[in-house]
Symmetry: C2
Subunit: 340 residues, 2 copies
């Protein structure tokens, strides 16, 4: 059984998950480019190699756990957290822990082994986004859970342990520290000014223009002002909205088009780099009811996409500082071309 | 010229350093094990390949920038920050920046190419620790600087770009976010209880015993309770002390012995893993004088040593959570053997 532990000084939570040590390290065979691979648990036809699916989008009348799907969501075979675990919150002096209650799911983005998220059609990417949305809505019903993180690791250097295109959802029984910092900062700003800090940031960037890669009626694609990584990009909805799961399907389709352009641009310009994609979303709930009342007004969902061209080392761990050798203004100029 | 930028939402600082893009990527030749390598700027005899040294410990009467040294401190050839840069702090609406004023130094830990820090003699490791101490004392004289971070990246996966054993010192014109969190947390605890949180943590761990790898009169070696990485170890002085630079030379010698044992243990048990070593130290100064008055009482210097056996990916970036597949209690049991 895994458990969550809190660092007694800074309050950073860690998942101690001894079972994860058993994971096969598949990543080293990533070079294979067949459209289907016999041993890959995510390939069409290998549905029996995974735990039973949670949801799947596919041909009408398809039986669960058989071929014929476009996107398939399954429990992680080596989960960091489990829904079956009873929730238990314990303190011993300075040392706090919580049982490993939560969810750890995998969104298989395509039945094909040889294709990346950015190479899928806009319709297919929309299905991936719909799966994220649908799973957040479902996980939200479990009131032991505080936060659902949606993320994608592409490439070994970005932490992917299986090469077949997929993303992950981890739902945790506490609000993670980095999320809390963002929530606290935006709440403080709102209390002071009665405006959303993300809305103000978007407004300033649109006026200043230097880091705006693209905008349309609904979204803005920004080269992040304080980018941690070269070519780090944020995609934000122009309309103020705290929860990703409230985005309409039409707007998901537009978002899918932007993601396709961006990921295609990375491939063209940076040579298919490893990257992490993170959905920054409002928490499912927090233990402070007074807080929950305002999060809809002060938080603003968005994507952060971090190409992993530089290595994170001691300096970054020790300080929370990052060293980025590419100016965000230069990255903007370069990436603008792919949105033309 | 590099500059520091603050993320407008969470306040995380980033160094935008376009010149760093020019660094040679030497790391790929790490496999070579000769005692001296012709092109290595850190090897004895190649002193002219680096900027002029700042300090060096060696044979009496040795001329600067010639062979005959044991430890040599030089400016980084591709610095993220520079002392020559005038300090300028600017805000434009939500967007803050500071000029890239600071220092970026390299501590070459041995004249030999084929030896690691853990393989050096205790006397030699003591010289490395003395160099760190001496450089912090000197950097502290520049009142534009707020923090001096001492760190070591060992191995490519830990971010080392040159294989020859070395550590680095970066002094920054703002207090880094991660440091601030630690300082704020320990200050809050002190205000509440009039005790140092680190002292209390050490006391609880010594009573509980489960994660104490080793202790002597002066130091305690702990398997961290909420370890981010397998076999993460903290070394803390038992005596309450905020500043590493105030440690006596005798106590540095004892510390060198503990480091040697720990690094030797990593090599023996984990097969010479990549690691990051971080000195968590009190800031040189902070802009809040009221704060500065108490940091001596509420902060406690220590080392954190993080073997890099697992990969950090989207989940970690998105949440500040880490997933660690090895329990700290198991790590403690294993590492205890090397301290016998």
């Amino acid at each position: 059984m895994s458990e969550l532990r809190r660092d007694p000084i800074v309050g950073r939570w860690v998942i101690i998950a001894p079972e994860r040590g058993l994971r096969p390290h598949f990543a080293k065979v990533e070079a294979r480019k067949d459209s289907k691979i016999e041993n890959c648990p995510f390939c069409e036809g290998n549905e029996s190699k995974t735990p039973p699916e949670i949801i799947a989008y596919g041909a009408p009348g398809r039986e669960p756990n058989t071929p014929g799907w476009d996107v398939r969501v399954i429990p992680n075979k080596f989960p960091a957290l489990r829904v079956e675990a009873d929730i238990e919150r314990l303190g011993f002096g300075l040392l706090d822990k919580v049982s490993g209650t939560g969810a750890h799911e995998v969104v298989v983005e395509t039945p094909r082994h040889d294709i990346t998220l950015g190479e899928l059609s806009e319709d297919n990417i929309t299905l991936v986004l719909r799966a994220w949305k649908e799973r957040i809505i479902d996980l939200d019903k479990d009131d032991r859970l505080r936060y659902a993180l949606v993320f994608k690791n592409k490439g070994i250097e970005a932490g992917a342990s299986l090469p077949h295109s997929h993303s992950q959802i981890i739902a945790t029984p506490i609000t993670p520290m980095v999320v809390k910092e963002e929530l606290n900062a935006s709440k403080e700003y709102y209390c002071e000014k009665e405006r959303c800090i993300f809305c103000d940031y978007i407004y300033q960037e649109l006026r200043d223009k230097k880091r705006v890669i693209y905008q349309d009626e609904h979204y803005v694609v920004l080269s992040a002002y304080a980018a941690r990584f070269p070519y780090e990009v944020w995609i934000l909805p122009k309309e103020h909205l705290a929860d990703f799961q409230l985005v309409s399907d039409e707007k998901l389709y537009i978002l899918a088009g932007l993601l396709k352009k961006l990921l295609g641009g990375y491939k063209e310009i940076l040579g298919d780099p490893p990257y992490n994609l993170l959905l920054h979303n409002a928490p499912l709930r927090t233990p402070r009811p007074g807080y929950w009342l305002t999060v809809e007004e002060d938080y603003h969902w968005h994507f952060e996409i971090l190409p992993r061209l530089t290595r994170v080392a001691g300096f970054e761990w020790g300080t929370g500082f990052y060293i980025n050798p590419v100016t965000p203004e230069h990255a903007c100029k370069v990436l603008k071309k792919v949105f033309k």
